[in-house]
Symmetry: C2
Subunit: 361 residues, 2 copies
Amino acid sequence: MADVTAIRIGIIGCADIARKVSRAIQLAPNATLSAVASRTFEKAERFARANGFPPEAKIYGSYEALLDDSEIDAVYLPLPTSLHRTWAVRVAQKKKHLLMEKPVALNVAEFDEIVAACDANGVQIMDGTMWLHHPRTHKMSEFLNNEELFGQLRMVHSCFTFGGDQDFLKNDIRVKPDLDRLGALGDAGWYGIGSILFAAKYELPTTVIAQQGPVFNEAGVLLSCGASLHWDDGKVANFYCSFLSNLTMTVTAIGTTGTLHFADHVIPYEEHEASFTTSVRPRLNDLVTGWESKPSEHTIVTDIPQEAVMVKEFSSLVANIKRNGAKPDQKWPTISRKIQLILDAVTASIEKGFQAVDIVS
Amino acid sequence: MADVTAIRIGIIGCADIARKVSRAIQLAPNATLSAVASRTFEKAERFARANGFPPEAKIYGSYEALLDDSEIDAVYLPLPTSLHRTWAVRVAQKKKHLLMEKPVALNVAEFDEIVAACDANGVQIMDGTMWLHHPRTHKMSEFLNNEELFGQLRMVHSCFTFGGDQDFLKNDIRVKPDLDRLGALGDAGWYGIGSILFAAKYELPTTVIAQQGPVFNEAGVLLSCGASLHWDDGKVANFYCSFLSNLTMTVTAIGTTGTLHFADHVIPYEEHEASFTTSVRPRLNDLVTGWESKPSEHTIVTDIPQEAVMVKEFSSLVANIKRNGAKPDQKWPTISRKIQLILDAVTASIEKGFQAVDIVS
């Protein structure tokens, strides 16, 4: 990866997820792992060593020092959500492109500040939702967009749950009100909402209603919740997210003539390929004792894992700005904002005693 | 099937579903297809001929005539729901055991009248929900009941949808307010609710809330709707049912340590076997780029199709009453009543503008 045209990415913060993204940056053909910063030099150095950083990568004992490095093109920001606004804005002001973890902010207003800073400084912003970049996702999108096969979307159900162990439920940043106060909603729910909007071709719902019975920890952070989304044309969707259930990540989208299903939504079972099933106008036999056809399975191979495809896509957009003077792409932050908008609505609905919340884009 | 110990079943009404059940009665080793009644002799005769009735089967041009036949032990009742109370009570009063189609009644009060008539006359009642009798269902029940594997139930999602064609949406009894005014809720929703209660080991929820956006036809019959169910311990469930979407019948139940999934809930893909998948404490790999194990698939073979297993179970209960003086079994009507109770609650919630409805058993 000593390619001089590669986008030089620095990492600010040594969160667990940064291990996966460090590797992804190394696997992406157009990116270079150039630096890592932590609040102490020792921590950054330990992280770099543990994650196979190239010897020429720089180690910084402060975030600011990395931001001042003119040889860094872009920053990957895996900090807790409560720190996003502050540091994302600083990254933009330093004219560095921004790949940031989700949820992108504590609310849409904060995200709008981040986007404004990126716009003002002409830098790319993309959030770290990996599954959207998997080639499987593009294939599923083709199916959902094929009116002849899928028809019109009527219902989506999405769940992403995992069972946090004692240590997670006590110490993880995702259960701390001062770090990631959106809890399971911001972490797992982000994907549920994202898969629903994906299936709805990013048409925002009209109303969102949180499901009764959310579970909070003692500090008031959501450990599990759900919500339903409603569109004026009668489409409906539900998602459920939890830190308290068995690992499950299932999406079912039903159209008037087709159905899409996949059960390894956020993390594919395997790195090099992923599958989904479709069924199009299946029929039951005459006596209604069996099906004339079963759903068909489609397996999509990828040469690099989805997180590396994400880094590749990000770096490609950055390169186009850097070399060709292109404008930053708007597609990705538009998606991020819509998901955040629904997150906000679910939070508001819970606060209002599960009332319907209108979505105003 | 000339076995003299076999339970002699007569069919009242020539609905489409009666074709499937006629065959099931012939496949069940302990039942005999003894008679069919329609409002005209010709229609009954045509039905018998088209469905391979044995030559000794009797043909009746009125329901009453069949009920007066002392050589009939039990009646299968596939009439429209609005006729259930009247005819089910008459069946019971004639001391005939009752296998009836679902939804069992227009509301719980009606069903209670039917059950009271059956109790007073010492006859068995069972509804025609076939999937509950498949050996796959028993295997799934074992998994759900295994605390070591599944843990405690946290969430269920169930959907059963199919796309009614123009003829169905105009003429089927399930879209007629005077025949089956519960529409998609009574027909497809019955299964969604049933699968949720099955997963919850028939513990009734505390509250039910209909999902906004139900679709009605011009006559006010539900063509699609959904609802969420809530238990005091934090369990939640959702179902969705529709006559306006692609054929889909998926159930996902998530426990604290296990997940169950099957996609051919109501009608197995094939008659002779059916599958489901389970996953127990699956783990992601260290870098969270893949799973260490995939869900495992379990295939259960059945020697006769689920509807024949149902008839066999019904006939076995009837035989036990007839020969051994046993009391009618309470398990099946108890399940039917619970499903009907939730149907009523969903209807009430829709009528009340999607308010929460408390379940009082």
